[in-house]
């Protein structure tokens, strides 16, 4: 599968990763190569195979409905670049 530069830029934008023109060129080649390699999986007939959801045969562990965590606002905001009154402070985002 061929990935063009517009697709590279689209993916980069969705992932909020800044790429230079030169990087975009390289990524075009790289991503195309990766996808082509993965495409080999298409050769296997999986029509009658259920999707693999886990490599372990077990059912999902569930939790009781009890409050057992939280109350640690200081820890939560410890790494925030900017805080005020235990809020995270971020550049203005408003519609």
């Amino acid at each position: 599968m061929k990935v063009d530069e517009a697709t590279v830029r689209h993916i980069a934008r969705l992932a909020r990763i800044k790429v230079t023109d030169e990087e975009a060129k390289n990524l075009e080649t790289e991503l195309s190569a990766i996808l082509t390699w993965v495409e080999q999986l298409g050769e296997v007939d999986t029509r009658n195979v259920a999707p693999l959801t886990s490599v372990v045969q077990m059912s999902m562990k569930k939790r009781e409905d009890q409050v057992s965590d939280g109350d640690c606002a200081d820890d939560i905001i410890a790494n925030a670049p900017e805080v005020a009154d235990h809020f995270f402070v971020v550049p203005k985002v408003v519609e």
Binding site: H10, T53, E64, D65, V67, D71, V90, K92, V93
Partner: protein, 494 residues
């Protein structure tokens, strides 16, 4: 598109080029009632100190893993059962990817292709006795986002993650609604069902129930038009206004030769108008994929059956029972079942008494008084038992219906038992005909002009009734007064 509802003339909107039909579909986000969050042990309580109900999972710290809360699963299944919907024994959690400061993971854990609940139905009842069945497309579980405050600082937004990770049920209707009235009725009904089930508190002001409204217009029987989505509505009244405005806007655009662009719009409560949100070109590219941190959600039919067996009586069943057992009108029954508390209250009053009288007192005097006081039925100053005693006093003719209103007002104010109020204030009905006759004789003797008049104008008998009531401070039995007056004044039955 499957047509479930035929165009109803009454719902059509007149335009310059003929009648238009509005088509509405609704997505409800209902916060699941649970102690802890969907995938963490932090509290779901509303209104805590900023970031105090947040675990490292909710803040998406590296290495944290989600573990599902079994009660949230049970609540979603109960809700599905309440919507008479298909329960999927196998469902899958997916990641919905997008960036926003109140979503620290960079994705929302949601369900995309395989929701926990499939198709169901909600029945709407209207005053005129008509019903509309609204299809439910699906219900899925997902995480709520945190909350951004934009008005605290000119250049910054403040983010509180207390809500982040609280379980939400997204309930999606089919585009079966054809008027703002139906849309409002749908949301009310859904809220009533959720409250009966105890799966969501339905508190729209606090944001625990929010709606996105999809609106499009078309000529009756045409294909569906392009829709616009009005986001984040949290008031039933505003939802009605937004739909009416939006439908009219779309009709005007089309009739002026324009086309509707599919877009997200916001309702401005101050102007009563909807406006387009600034949209980014690359929005809505969510790149869903199964969340590798979570196994598929699986349970047995036995598990579903056990939850079903424990469900409370739901609004539709209760309404049917009220109509059948208490012989109430469908409308009165509908008013009473709108909240579980109101229906419980009514049943306490009605049990062993005249249900029609009980219904009139509850839906009339009591609801009126509570409305005036701005109180919920749970905070009523008059208990159901007391109101029942009042109904007893009317039924056994201890007091008249008129006096009962006064007694009720005193009960509201003092909380005293009705029998005690009647005793203390001497409000017992005078049924002693001798005593009434005496008063009637006095009034007739004192008012010869009126006596003359009533012979030609029988309607003026009411004046005499009023005089007798005044003389007895309303305690005379109205029927007895009427009978005695008619006899003495020789006025026939009307």
């Amino acid at each position: 598109m499957q047509e479930r509802v035929n165009p109803d003339k009454a719902n059509l909107i007149a335009g310059a080029t003929g009648d238009w039909e509005v088509v509405i579909g609704i997505e409800i986000h209902a916060q699941v009632t649970s102690k802890a969050k969907l995938f963490s042990g932090a509290s779901t309580e509303f209104g805590g100190e900023p970031n105090s109900h947040v675990s490292l999972v909710d803040a998406a710290m590296p290495g944290m893993l989600p573990v599902i809360n079994e009660e949230c699963v049970a609540q979603a299944v109960r809700t599905g059962l309440g919507l008479k919907a298909k329960i999927n024994l196998h469902s899958v959690f997916d990641r919905k990817n997008y960036f926003y400061p109140d979503l620290p993971q960079g994705y929302q854990i949601s369900q995309y292709k395989h929701p926990i609940v499939g198709e169901g139905d909600v029945i709407l009842d209207f005053k005129d006795g008509s019903t509309v069945t609204v299809g439910i497309e699906r219900l899925h579980l997902e995480q709520d986002a945190g909350k951004s405050l934009h008005d605290q600082h000119p250049e910054h937004s403040f983010v509180d993650l207390n809500r982040s990770g609280v379980a939400l049920m997204e309930i999606v209707s089919k585009p079966d609604l054809r008027s703002s009235e139906q849309a409002k009725a749908f949301i009310s009904k859904l809220r009533t069902i959720l409250r009966y089930l105890g799966t969501c508190d339905g508190n729209m002001e606090q944001g625990s129930m929010r709606a996105d409204i999809n609106v499009s217009v078309r000529k009756p029987r045409d294909d569906l038009g392009t829709r616009c989505e009005i986001k984040n509505m949290n008031s039933i009244r505003f939802i009605g206004q937004a739909i009416d405005y939006e439908a009219r806007r779309q009709i005007d655009v089309i009739e002026d030769g324009g086309t509707i662009r599919q877009e997200t719009r916001l309702f401005d409560t101050r102007t009563g108008e909807t406006r387009a949100m600034r949209t980014k070109e690359e929005a809505h590219d969510y790149r869903y994929f199964p969340d590798p941190d979570l196994l598929p959600l699986e349970f047995t039919q036995d598990y579903v059956d056990a939850l079903d067996a424990d469900l409370p009586e739901l609004p539709d069943a209760k309404k049917k029972r009220f109509v059948e057992d208490y012989e109430l009108s469908a409308y009165d029954a509908g008013v009473l079942i709108a909240s579980r508390a109101a229906s419980d209250y009514f049943e306490t009053v009605a049990t062993g008494r005249d249900p029609k009288l009980a219904s009139n007192w509850v839906t009339g005097d009591l609801f009126g008084a509570l409305n005036k006081l701005g109180k919920e039925i749970g905070e009523s100053p008059v208990s159901a038992e007391s109101l029942g005693e009042l109904v007893d006093l009317i039924s056994d003719k201890t007091i008249s219906g008129r006096i009962a209103k006064d007694v009720f007002d005193i009960m509201l104010e003092t909380g005293e038992a009705p029998a005690k109020i009647v005793e203390k204030r001497g409000l017992k009905q005078v049924t002693d005909t001798g005593a009434i006759e005496k008063i009637v004789d006095e009034i007739i003797a004192a008012n010869p002009d009126q006596v003359e008049q009533v012979k030609t104008k029988p309607k003026t008998l009411g004046w005499f009734v009023g005089q007798v009531m005044k003389a007895t401070q309303g305690k005379a039995n109205p029927q007895a007064v009427n009978d005695i007056l008619r006899e003495k004044l020789e006025v026939g039955e009307e």
